[in-house]
């Protein structure tokens, strides 16, 4: 069901009837339709990109505060107020006098007013002000939000160093390869049915192809920085990403098979009009998607390429200054994109939970439908980020590289194939296309034996049972040779091929 707020429709209609009137007498008149289309697309793309990019800082803030709170500490508390307060009494003097065009006076006045109103009070409260320099009398809106802004902006003024014997061209190209391919993903992520930058026909294939480019950039970075740590980090990340690319593809193939389309927006429409989100139809697929996405963006359980412990910083050890800032941002954009893709494929995009039932209620239903799709998508993405990526980061340890690869090839791949088969069976036998309804109430396509919604309910319960079965660990004292253990009796390196 289309979202009520259609940004694209609004902008395209205004530009279509505004531009021809503006270009009435000018020679460009006959091509005014193309110009209107161009300007409208430019506006929509910019709005969507800025929304996605600046909600990126929310992701950084959620992560830093959640990890800090879990570590039992306060985490970053830099407040907006620290811009004009200066360092406990020491300020930068009358810097606004150096401003040209007489702009010094108003900015100086603004600074004084802010300091008087929201700054440190006076000598009497010097120590109290010094302690809560982070907030004004203990209150601060978004405490710590500006810490990430400061971290990002500081990298702009750092010196850019290139290691002497590094392969300079590839050393410079690698970060751009990673950052550009990451930003391209944001192009196809729709915020709601009417708010997206582009909607290519096969957007699922496009997303996976773009996700596949970054590993090359990572390997280039690792190889070109002429440092043994980065070389091992680069090789590890290349191996890990290829190992987890295939289960990711198969999982998205099963989503496409289930929804019948390769387009993200159509698969969201399918989820609503069929009545059940994919999460309940293919919980195994959802789990696989999250696991492979965590490995794809190299976060903690699969953090081996930038393993703090033995590889210093992994493949980005030699990057300083803004290149490191961009790589740091690119890693978070990829994580954010992963959360968005999970929301669209498994949590029904901009549709509200139980939208079918609640929209029936006369008064409350209409209010419920008034919530804009973009807000719903953002909140879902942030919750997925908090509950999956950040929670895994502060509670799990790192798996070793060979264990990651073994887990990827031996366990995730067969499960992904099983999921594709299941999706095929669901689509062919358990799906009833006649019940599809594209109304606000949504359809009831997954009934079985007369009981509405029986198929998703049974699947979810079945997979939860399997999950609990595997949850309790086997008796620890008994076995020591864990299944992932590759300990060679004869130390490696002593085996010379060809000599039996």
């Amino acid at each position: 069901m289309d979202d009520k707020y259609d940004l694209r429709g609004l902008l395209f209609s205004t530009f279509e009837d505004l531009i021809p009137k503006v270009l009435e007498g000018t020679p460009l008149e006959d091509s005014s339709a193309q110009i209107a289309f161009g300007l409208a697309t430019f506006a929509v793309v910019n709005i969507v990109f800025l929304m996605l990019f600046f909600s990126q800082f929310a992701i950084l803030w959620i992560e830093r505060k959640a990890v800090a709170r879990m570590n039992d500490r306060r985490g970053a508390t830099t407040a907006l107020r620290s811009l004009w307060v200066g360092e406990n009494g020491v300020t930068a003097g009358e810097w606004w006098n150096m401003l040209p065009f007489g702009l010094g006076k108003p900015i100086g006045g603004l600074n004084k007013w802010l300091n008087k109103k929201f700054g440190n009070r006076d000598e009497k409260f010097a120590t109290v002000d010094r302690v809560n320099n982070r907030s004004w009398m203990g209150y601060s809106i978004f405490p710590g939000f500006f810490q990430n802004v400061a971290d990002g902006m500081k990298f702009l003024v750092k010196e850019h160093m290139v290691p002497q014997r590094a392969d300079k061209l590839i050393f410079e190209v690698a970060p751009f390869l990673i950052v550009s391919s990451t930003l391209l993903i944001l192009g196809i992520i729709p915020l709601s049915s009417g708010m997206y930058a582009t909607n290519p026909e096969l957007s699922i294939l496009y997303a996976i192809a773009i996700f596949g480019i970054a590993p090359i950039g990572v390997f280039f970075a690792g190889w070109s920085s002429n440092n043994k740590y980065t070389l091992i980090g680069g090789i590890r990340s290349a191996a890990q990403l290829t190992a987890y690319e295939i289960p990711l593809l198969l999982t998205l193939l099963s989503v496409a098979v289930l929804s019948g389309t390769f387009n993200i927006i159509e698969s969201i429409h399918f989820q609503h009009s069929a009545g059940a989100w994919n999460l309940f139809l293919m919980p195994l697929g959802a789990g696989l998607f999250l696991l492979t996405m965590i490995a794809e963006v190299e976060r903690v359980p699969f953090d081996m390429p930038e393993a703090e412990a033995e590889l210093v910083e992994g493949w980005w050890t030699e990057y300083g200054g803004m290149r490191f800032g961009m790589l740091f941002m690119a890693e978070y954009i990829r994580t954010y994109a992963a959360c968005f893709l999970f929301t669209h494929f498994f949590l029904g995009g901009w549709h509200l939970p139980f939208q079918g039932l609640i929209s029936q209620i006369p008064l409350l239903g209409d209010a419920y439908l008034l919530i804009p799709g973009a807000i719903v998508v953002l909140i879902k993405a942030w919750l997925v980020f908090l509950l999956v990526f950040v929670w895994a980061r502060f509670s799990l340890a790192r798996i070793r590289t060979d264990q990651i690869l073994e887990f990827g090839w031996r366990i995730l791949l067969p499960l992904a194939v099983l999921q594709v088969v299941l999706a095929g069976i669901y689509r062919l036998y358990l799906f009833d296309p006649t019940e599809m309804k594209d109304t606000a109430a949504g359809g009831w396509a997954w009934d079985a034996f007369g009981v509405p919604m029986l198929v998703p309910i049974l699947t979810t319960i079945a997979w939860l049972g399997i999950f609990v079965l595997f949850l309790n660990d086997e008796d620890k004292s008994g076995n020591t040779e864990r299944m992932f253990h590759v300990y060679t009796e004869k130390p490696a390196g002593t085996y010379v091929p060809g000599q039996e």
Partner: protein
């Protein structure tokens, strides 16, 4: 596959302190290793030859900076052997309590550093938060957070403060519940078990042959402990038993056993401290003046020419030993020769050799499980 030497240099997150581990790597597998120490060698043995016997204690605090109290006690026993000083009963109890509290703080620092080695960053903050509890207690005794200069030749500097006993009991009881929280977070997580079990095997005789001691040997199944084998202080009157682990493979103890032994040792220390505070002669809520004969007996300050003093003490990381020869400058007020045996100085080359055959990612796991402290290694 190309074999290359990687230098895990002095500044490296894995090395707890400054030392270099050169690793020959074939792909991901370690073929050969070489340890290089001496980055913070500061010649404590040479400086102590120009210090009086009581002035040497601060240097021994700063040897292994994470378990300062145990090292100061170790030196004091050697000095008492040299100067023939005897120690009152209550002072021995206070030394036991302060040493065991320091052992708890040191094991917590180890667990806090071991977590990030394996990748679990939350462990660092949790363990350091609990360590602050014990630092507060030791601060009441010694006066500062990390280096206390607390034991004296013939007793202790000052008695335990009035409310110390109740605060300590409350904090140790709270910590015993905290250990369950750690175990729930770590032993239940398959990733933690997969990274630690079956990694870093070394059997008991191989370790003793190489001079390894302390919890690392008790992880291989023998409950040998200097506290009962060469007894000192009042460990025989206090209720405890050495923590020992059953190795699950014929190849000896792996990283998981060493981790389990230290968790068990934390419990033993808690049990020991709670029992010792009840049995302390002179009552737990009394506070004697600092020179009182209940906690300090005057000891001679000069050592004759040929006299020697030796002490064998169970520090948190192994058996630390001091050997002092009397008759130095100032007519014997200063030691002629002070020799310090650091358990880690011999364990680190041995551990470097046990890493051969495992993966590069196992290096921090194996190294961290032996709890290296470079301050004492380089002296």
């Amino acid at each position: 596959m190309a074999q290359m030497w990687i230098t895990m240099g002095p500044q490296h997150p894995m090395t707890h302190g400054l030392w270099t581990l050169r690793v020959k790597v074939d792909g991901e597998t370690v073929i050969d290793t070489e340890a290089e120490l001496g980055y913070i060698h500061r010649g404590v043995e040479k400086i102590c030859e120009a210090r009086d016997f009581t002035q040497v204690t601060p240097y021994c605090d700063r040897l292994c900076y994470v378990s300062a109290m145990t090292w100061a006690n170790s030196y004091i026993y050697a000095a008492e052997d040299l100067l023939e000083a005897d120690v009152p009963e209550r002072a021995e109890y206070i030394r036991l309590i302060s040493a065991e509290l320091q052992r708890l703080a040191s094991h917590l620092m180890w667990l806090g550093a071991f977590g990030p080695d394996i990748g679990n960053l939350t462990l660092m903050t949790w363990c350091m938060r609990d360590r602050e509890m014990f630092l507060d207690l030791l601060q009441e005794l010694g006066g500062s957070r990390m280096h206390y200069n607390y034991p004296r030749i013939g007793g202790v500097k000052r008695d335990i403060p009035i409310g110390f006993a109740d605060r300590m009991i409350a904090k140790v009881k709270l910590f015993e519940k905290r250990i369950e929280e750690y175990e729930m977070m770590l032993d239940e997580s398959t990733i933690w078990l997969v990274r630690l079990q079956g990694v870093g095997y070394c059997n008991a005789e191989e370790m003793v042959e190489a001079g390894v001691s302390g919890p690392n040997v008790r992880a291989a199944g023998v409950n040998y402990d200097v506290r009962w084998a060469h007894p000192y202080s009042v460990y025989d009157e206090v209720d405890w038993e050495p923590a020992v682990e059953k190795p699950t493979s014929v190849k000896g103890a792996d990283c998981y056993d060493r981790y389990r032994v230290r968790i068990e040792e934390m419990r033993q220390s808690c049990r020991m401290v709670l029992d010792a505070i009840e049995k302390i002669p002179g009552g737990k809520n009394t506070n004697y003046a600092s020179g009182d004969e209940m906690i300090y007996t005057k000891a001679p300050t000069r050592a004759p020419e040929g006299a020697t003093g030796f002490s064998n003490y169970e520090c948190t990381r192994g058996a630390s030993q001091f050997y002092i020869e009397g008759g130095g400058e100032g007519r014997g007020k200063k030691p002629y020769r002070l020799s310090i045996r650091s358990p880690m100085f011999i364990t680190i080359p041995f551990v470097a050799k046990t890493m051969i055959g495992y993966k590069v990612a196992d290096i921090p796991a194996i190294m961290g499980s032996f709890d290296p402290c470079i301050g004492e290694t380089d002296r």
